[in-house]
């Protein structure tokens, strides 16, 4: 069964088509063609002796080329990677007698807070209970200094 194979810390990737909008592709290719033309003119201008104009045209050509390739790559990436992040959920087990013994393990189906467990406390032999279940979110939230 699919669910049995799932771990608690799983990321799934979209198995969908990499279809990119034809409009976007058209715009990217027009910009690419113009950038190539700009590069050719830059070479032409350089041999004619106008080095400043050649430099400007070359810079425009290179920037346009890089941007169009990046845009095309980005649009394909965005479609290909739609992910659902499943965070790791931890179960904390403590002693009912409050002997300060605490253990932590990955969540298992059937766990719930205040569930008394069959296994006894290794420290004092008392009953064990699930005291908390939570996920830890690692990424730091962006602060805006306001």
């Amino acid at each position: 069964m699919r669910l049995k194979r799932m771990t608690q810390n799983q990321t799934q990737t979209t198995p969908q088509s990499n279809k990119v909008s034809s409009y976007l592709t058209l715009i990217v290719f027009v910009v690419m063609a113009l950038s190539i033309a700009a590069l050719f003119i830059a070479v032409d201008t350089y041999f004619l002796g106008d080095q400043v104009a050649a430099g400007v045209l070359a810079a425009i050509g290179v920037i346009a080329m890089v941007m169009s390739v990046f845009l095309l790559y980005q649009s394909r990436q965005a479609v290909a990677h739609a992910k659902i992040e499943i965070p790791k959920v931890m179960t904390n087990v403590g002693c009912v007698k409050n002997c300060d013994s605490k253990t932590s393990r990955e969540f298992q189906r059937g766990d719930y807070v205040f569930k008394e467990l069959d296994a006894n406390c290794e420290k004092c032999g008392g009953k064990q209970m699930i005291v908390s279940i939570y996920k830890e979110v690692k990424e730091k939230e962006k602060t805006y200094n306001v």
């Binding site: 976007l24 033309a37 959920v89």
Partner: protein, 377 residues
């Protein structure tokens, strides 16, 4: 030879043909943007919406698959539950007519009860193995409701996307594109909730029941209203009637009915009612922040809040509220550590309230509002 003195004026600047061609292209782009700028902007927006729609469809399909897998694994159905689940995902509820609003709360309450019963019956039919396992039935119902929410979000976004494309209306697309980040956040939260419900993990909304659970743990409990439990607990020399939805199954209970019953059982002799719930935080506020206030801290369609307010007004009982702040994503996904850590702070706040606002020997009601999934008592 004498020069004429007249200069040749060209519409297209440049001396060589390549520069002229480039200039012409620039003119074409410039004029094109004047006339079609808005349309190009719209296509870019449509593209953004389309990407999000693909992602929403994926999330929705995953949600449905998860629901089917859980039902197959736990419920052991004899036939394929897919078609039944498809039908379940399309269920709708019609709100009662409000032209004459008198008595609308009872009507809404009845409709919500009918809906809940109907959906539970459906889950029992899908999962015959779990006929008597209320915990799993509740969890499955919650899982399917999350899948239902994802299906609805996808369909609404798709509706406006197609409408925008059909009419080529910038304003339809623009409105959709503007709210899309919030819609996506909600959809991702439901996707996360789906897994939490399928596994029976506590969620952020369970902060209230967790506070109540910690206060009542170790004391005798009894059923008070539908899906609600209560325990009588001595706190700071007062008697506290602690109420929460019955766990560990996914369940919010009927706190309105439970509070009504507790007040009537004590003939209105209650010093105060303290409600603890998860509250939506504003951007910039910390997750798990505990805040205190006045009023019925309970969400939903308003039926429970109405019942509680009616009873409190009748007996002139003061109503205090404590909220544990979190955003919508945190509320429906597995409980964050920050929220879990704030439970003890909320309990301290409850005790402080009791000490400062009631006298020894008084009776108080404490309600932990929220979904009890993964939280026992």
């Amino acid at each position: 030879m004498k020069e004429s003195g007249a200069t040749k004026v060209s519409l297209i600047p440049g001396t060589d043909s390549i520069t002229q061609v480039l200039s012409l292209v620039m003119y074409v782009f410039f004029i094109g943007f004047i006339f079609y700028g808005q349309r190009i902007q719209m296509y870019i927006m449509i593209r953004e919406v389309e990407n999000s729609l693909h992602k929403l469809r994926h999330i929705k399909e995953e949600g449905k698959k998860t629901a089917i897998d859980v039902i197959k694994e736990l419920g052991k159905p004899t036939t394929d539950p897919s078609s039944r689940i498809d039908r379940y995902l399309e269920y709708f509820t019609i709100a009662p007519q409000s032209m004459d609003p008198a008595g609308i709360v009872a009507k809404l309450d009845h409709i919500l009860d009918t809906r809940d019963e109907r959906l539970k019956e459906e889950v029992k039919l899908m999962a015959p193995e779990l006929q008597n396992d209320e915990v799993q039935i509740n969890n499955l119902e919650n899982t399917l409701e999350a899948a239902m929410a994802l299906n609805f979000i996808y369909k609404v976004v798709r509706h406006y996307y197609i409408q925008g494309k059909k009419t080529l209306s910038l304003y339809v697309i623009m409105q959709l594109q503007m709210i899309l980040p919030m819609v996506m956040k909600e959809a991702e939260a439901y996707a996360s909730a789906l897994k939490a419900f399928a596994y029976g993990q506590p969620i952020g909304d369970g902060a209230g029941p967790l506070v109540a659970g910690k206060l009542m743990h170790g004391y005798e409990t009894r059923k008070l209203a539908k899906d609600c439990v209560m325990a009588s607990v001595p706190i700071e020399g007062r008697t506290a009637i602690i109420i929460k939805a019955e766990g560990p199954g996914g369940n919010v209970g009927k706190p309105g009915d439970a509070v009504e019953a507790a007040i009537e059982e004590n003939k209105g002799k209650i010093a105060c009612l303290i409600m603890i719930d998860a509250g939506l935080k504003l951007e910039g506020e910390a997750v798990g922040e505990v805040a205190e206030g006045i009023g019925a801290a309970i969400g939903g369609p308003g039926v429970d809040a109405f019942k509680i307010e009616e009873k409190l007004t009748k007996y002139k009982i003061r109503n205090y509220a404590i909220i544990i702040k979190q955003d919508i994503g945190d509320a429906v996904s597995p409980m964050r550590k920050e929220i879990n850590d704030s439970i003890d702070k909320a309990i301290e706040q409850v005790k402080l309230m009791i000490r400062e606002r009631t006298k020894e020997g008084d009776k108080v009601i404490i309600v932990g509002v929220g979904n009890s999934i993964g939280v026992g008592q």
